[in-house]
C-alpha cells in the first residue's frame, strides 16, 4: 500500500465503486449511506508514503464522476480536499489513536454524504440520514481497525503493510 501505482489505485477505486453501487441500494432502505469509494481513496492516500498527488486526486475524482453519473467535479473537489487535508496533517495523524482516526474518517465521510446530497440530491437531504451515515461509517472504520489490530494475518493476506 506504501508504493501503490496509479493504475492499481484506479482499479481498486473502480471495483469499490462497483460494490458501492450494489450496496447503496441496500443501505438506502435503512436510511444511511457509506461512501466506500471516498473512504477507500482516503485510506490509500493516508497509507501511501508520498500520498496521491493533487493531479492524481483530481483525475481519479473526474473519472469517478464520469462513471457514477455525478455532476462533473463533485468527486474531484472532494478527493482534492481530502487529499489536501490528509497530506497537511499526515505527521499529526501519527500522534492520533486509531479511535481518533476513525472519528476523522467517519466525519469526512459524513461531510462527503452531506455535500453530495446538497449538490445532487437535495430532495433526500436529511440530518437523520447524516447522523445514521456518521454512525455507520464510524462502525465500519472501527471494525476495520480492529481487524487490522487483532487479526494481522488478514492484513498480510490482503498485502496491506503499515
Amino acid at each position: 500500500m506504501n508504493n501503490i501505482g496509479y493504475l492499481r489505485i484506479f482499479f481498486i477505486i473502480l471495483v469499490t465503486l462497483f460494490f458501492e453501487n450494489i450496496l447503496s441500494a441496500l443501505f438506502l432502505k435503512f436510511n444511511f449511506y457509506i461512501p466506500f469509494t471516498f473512504l477507500v481513496f482516503s485510506y490509500i492516500h493516508y497509507k501511501k508514503t508520498n500520498g496521491i498527488s493533487a493531479t492524481g486526486s483530481f483525475f481519479i475524482g473526474i473519472l469517478v464522476d464520469l462513471i457514477s453519473q455525478n455532476p462533473f467535479g463533485l468527486n474531484a473537489l472532494m478527493f482534492c480536499l481530502m487529499a489536501l487535508i490528509i497530506s497537511y496533517y499526515k505527521n499529526i495523524f501519527k500522534l492520533f489513536s486509531y479511535f481518533q482516526i476513525c472519528i476523522f474518517f467517519s466525519l469526512s465521510a459524513t461531510f462527503y454524504v452531506g455535500f453530495t446530497n446538497l449538490i445532487s440530491n437535495i430532495g433526500i437531504f436529511s440530518y437523520t440520514n447524516l447522523f445514521s451515515s456518521l454512525l455507520a461509517s464510524f462502525i465500519l472504520c472501527i471494525s476495520l481497525s480492529f481487524i487490522n489490530l487483532y487479526n494481522p494475518r488478514i492484513k498480510n493476506r490482503l498485502g496491506i503493510r503499515d
Binding site: S53, A54, T55, S57, F58, G61, I62, L66, Q69, P71, F72, G73, L74, A76, L77, C80, L81, A83, L84, S87, Y88, Y89, K90, N91, I92, K94, L95, I119
Partner: protein, 276 residues
C-alpha cells in the same frame, strides 16, 4: 509536537478551484453534457456489442448442446431399436430358443412317459368361446414345421399336466382340442373304476357316467382321477383331476363331475408329447 507536513498547497488549491469551477459549470450551464452523453453512448454501445457477442457464443453453445442431445437421443433410439429387433427376433424364434427352458419343466412331469416334447406358443385362444360355449379349442404355432403325422392325435401338456389333444396341422398352426370340449372323450380311472370322461363344455369340467349295476365300487367326493391309457393317446397314470359332484340321473345311473387340475387359461406355452 509534530509539525504539519510541508506540501505544495498551490497545486492543491488550483485543483480545488478547478474542480469547483467544473462543478459550477456542470450544474449551472450543463457544459459537460456532451462528455457525459458520449460516455453513456460508449457504455451502451459496448454493452450492446458484448451482449451480441455473448448471445452468439451462447447460441453457439446451445446449438452445440442441442447437437449433443440429438446425438444422445439418436444413440438411445438406435439402442432401443436394436433391443426391439432382438425382442422381435426372439419372439419369432421363440420355439427354437426357449424350447429347452420349458422342456425341462415339462419333462419333469412327463419323464416317465415320453422323452420328446415339442414346445410351442399359443397363437390363438378364443377365451369367450371357452367360458361360454362347448367348443374349447386353441391354436399353437408350428414354426419348426413338424409334420402332421408326428403331431396329430398327440397329447398336449402344460407344466402341470395334460390339457388337451392335437388333432390337425394347417400350415404353421396346430389345432388343439381341450379336454373340457364337449366333443372330446378322455379315458379315466379312479381305483377300480374306469370310464370315458366327456368334456362338459364348461371350463375345467369333465363328466363320467356311473352305472351301479355294472360298477359296485363306491366313489366319494374328492377321489382322484388318472388317465387310464385305454384310448391309446394319453399315457397312463397321469393325474387329471378330482371328483367334485355325483348327480343322480335315475335309480342306477349317476353322473360324476370331475374337476380338471390343469387349466390353459394362465398358460401361453404348451408342449406336445411326441413318441420317438
Amino acid at each position: 509536537m509534530a509539525i504539519n507536513t510541508p506540501i505544495n498547497s498551490f497545486i492543491f488549491g488550483f485543483y480545488v478551484l478547478l474542480s469547483s469551477l467544473i462543478l459550477y459549470f456542470d450544474i449551472a450551464h450543463n457544459k459537460f453534457e456532451k462528455v457525459k452523453n458520449s460516455y453513456n453512448a460508449v457504455v451502451i454501445s459496448s454493452n450492446y456489442i458484448i451482449d451480441k457477442n455473448l448471445e452468439s457464443i451462447s447460441f453457439f453453445y446451445k446449438s452445440f448442446q442441442n447437437n449433443q442431445n440429438l446425438l444422445r437421443e439418436n444413440q438411445n433410439l438406435s439402442y432401443q431399436l436394436d433391443q426391439l429387433k432382438v425382442e422381435n427376433f426372439l419372439l419369432k424364434n421363440f420355439d427354437m430358443y426357449f424350447n429347452d427352458f420349458y422342456k425341462k419343466d415339462m419333462l419333469e412331469t412327463f419323464s416317465s412317459v415320453s422323452n420328446r416334447v415339442y414346445i410351442s406358443k399359443i397363437a390363438s385362444f378364443d377365451t369367450d368361446n371357452y367360458f361360454c360355449c362347448t367348443n374349447h379349442e386353441l391354436i399353437l404355432n408350428n414354426f419348426e414345421g413338424i409334420p402332421k403325422d408326428l403331431i396329430a392325435n398327440r397329447p398336449v401338456i402344460s407344466k402341470s399336466g395334460i390339457v388337451g389333444q392335437a388333432y390337425d396341422v394347417i400350415n404353421d398352426s396346430i389345432k388343439v382340442i381341450l379336454l373340457s370340449d364337449a366333443r372330446h372323450i378322455t379315458p379315466l380311472k379312479s381305483g377300480d373304476f374306469f370310464c370315458n370322461a366327456k368334456g362338459v363344455g364348461r371350463p375345467n369340467l369333465l363328466s363320467c357316467s356311473l352305472n351301479t349295476l355294472i360298477h359296485q365300487n363306491k366313489l366319494e367326493i374328492g377321489d382322484l382321477f388318472y388317465t387310464s391309457g385305454m384310448g391309446g393317446v394319453f399315457p397312463v397314470n397321469i393325474l387329471i383331476g378330482e371328483l367334485v359332484a355325483i348327480n343322480k340321473v335315475d335309480d342306477n345311473e349317476y353322473l360324476l363331475e370331475i374337476y380338471l387340475y390343469q387349466s390353459v387359461i394362465n398358460e401361453n406355452v404348451l408342449g406336445i408329447l411326441i413318441d420317438e
